[in-house]
């Protein structure tokens, strides 16, 4: 079971978990009609490095002005958390008409998943005080969110922040996943 912080800061932090975060799939305009398609993810976790988030916060919102906008970010990296029971049966994206690989929770693949030995995924079991059931982060599904949107979104949709070692574990495994090299 992981440890979390419930207290909320104004600034976006690595390890923050938010609910109902939107990802803009596309926005098109044709014949005077504008169409937006958004995917709403029930839960996401922030993966961007905390130092980058701190520096961006200083540039944007600190009382001390900076001489340039060199440290400003355009967006924040997040990844979705999926309900592990949906995940085992490959149904976690069924509302998007996507059928995913199944993992037998009782066999080796299921055990490896829960021990965080599968590079693509990170399993999290939240303490009872957090209203999230055991979940899996899929690193392959990372996406980015506009900084200002996420800061406003945080006010009403912050759930918790993963505690220090746990968020660093997620971050390190995410980086390893991104930098993997497939050899023939």
């Amino acid at each position: 079971m992981i440890k979390v912080k419930i207290g909320k800061q104004a600034k976006i932090s690595q390890g923050d978990v938010y609910k109902d975060t939107e990802f803009l799939e596309y926005a098109i305009e044709k014949n005077g009609i504008v169409e937006f398609s958004k995917i709403v993810f029930p839960y996401v976790v922030v993966l961007t490095q905390d130092c980058d988030l701190n520096q961006d916060y200083t540039v944007r919102w600190s009382r001390n002005t900076t001489s340039n906008q060199d440290k400003k970010l355009f967006s924040v990296i997040v990844a979705p958390l999926y309900n592990v029971e949906h995940f085992y049966v490959g149904e976690h994206l069924s509302e998007l008409n996507m059928s995913m690989m199944k993992i037998n929770k009782k066999k080796t693949d299921g055990k490896k998943l829960r021990q965080n030995k599968t590079p693509r995924y990170h399993f999290l079991e939240f303490p009872e005080k957090v209203p999230i059931i055991p979940s899996v982060i899929d690193f392959k599904h990372y996406f980015t969110v506009n900084v200002e949107y996420l800061k406003k979104h945080k006010r009403e949709n912050f759930v918790c922040q993963l505690s220090a070692l746990y968020r660093e574990d997620v971050s390190q495994r995410f980086c390893s996943f991104l930098s993997r090299i497939a050899l023939p």
């Binding site: 799939e25 504008v34 398609s37 958004k38 029930p42 994206l93």
Partner: protein, 64 residues
């Protein structure tokens, strides 16, 4: 069809339904607690998964 809704079709709560008619008023149909729970659980089940929302808007020329 309301494309903003997280669920895009009418609910199908199964082939059999258990709808009780109030003895006090035959004009009212009361959905049994069991069915209500099924519907609420189904909503929660669907809302606990990522879902797509499509929004369309018409551009109106500003003639001013």
């Amino acid at each position: 069809m309301n494309n903003d809704s997280p669920f895009s079709s009418e609910y199908d709560i199964g082939e059999t339904t258990d709808i009780k008619v109030s003895q006090e008023s035959r004009d009212k149909t009361i959905i049994s607690d069991g069915i209500r729970k099924l519907i609420e659980d189904d909503i929660q089940y669907k809302l606990s998964k990522p879902r797509r929302k499509i929004i369309r808007a018409k551009i109106i020329d500003d003639k001013s």
